[in-house]
């Protein structure tokens, strides 16, 4: 069973220093939202950031243990800015 600790530990395989906030979207343990904050995102495009974080998740996504992962990758400065405005809604 995948839990928030597992999500954070997997992110840390790619980014050991990252701050990770994982939320189970459905309570089923396979749809996650993760906000990842790390200074290494500085200067990286959104896709490059996600590829970096998703790399250690590949086997878990392929096995469907993690069916969906909504990733928000921010630099520390962006994370501060994000707390000062409401989150984007679809």
């Amino acid at each position: 069973m995948v839990d928030a600790t597992f999500i954070a530990a997997t992110v840390h395989l790619a980014l050991p220093e990252a701050r990770v906030e994982a939320t189970d979207l459905t309570g089923g343990g396979d749809h996650w939202r993760a906000v990842v904050v790390d200074a290494r995102f500085e200067g990286m495009r959104p896709l490059a950031r996600q590829r970096l974080v998703l790399e250690p998740f590949k086997p878990h996504i392929a096995s469907n243990a993690v069916h969906a992962l909504d990733l928000v990758c921010r630099t520390p400065a962006e994370a501060v800015a994000a707390t000062q405005r409401p989150p984007a809604q679809p």
Partner: protein, 133 residues
């Protein structure tokens, strides 16, 4: 965030590919995908269709692209002869493990969250506008 259409085929049967040790991304499929993303300015690979999405994230990506206000090409992975193999091939083709995938002018920009962000910021529209003659 609601995931209203979820629950349909999350685990497609894989017997057809179980015997294939190699990559599901055959040269023929690679060429087909390449032609698709180069031949269409805006392509959405998704679970289901824009009218009937079968995953909340695919739904979100489709709604983001709807907001762009121009037609886009969509590919329903579940409508492929071997959906599981097609999904794995896409992951390899885009070097991106999850669906949906949004491609703009032959370039993968990301999944639903990046697409939504880029539509809201107008960046995606700008990428498309740059391709106008």
């Amino acid at each position: 965030m609601a995931l209203p259409f979820h629950g349909a085929p999350t685990t497609a049967p894989t017997p057809a590919t179980a015997t294939t040790a190699g990559s599901p991304l055959t040269p023929a499929l690679r060429e087909e995908l390449q032609n698709l993303v180069v031949g269409n300015d805006l392509v959405l690979f998704m679970k289901g269709t824009p009218a009937e999405p079968q995953c909340g994230f695919s739904n979100r990506a489709a709604r983001a692209l709807d907001a762009v206000g121009r037609p886009y090409h969509h590919v329903n992975v579940f409508a492929q002869p071997d959906p599981a193999a097609y999904i794995r091939a896409l992951a390899e083709f885009g070097d991106f493990p999850t669906l949906p995938q949004v491609w703009v002018k032959g370039e993968l920009i990301g999944g639903s969250d990046i697409a939504l962000e880029m539509v809201q910021s107008g960046e995606l529209q700008k990428m498309l506008a740059d391709s106008e003659p």
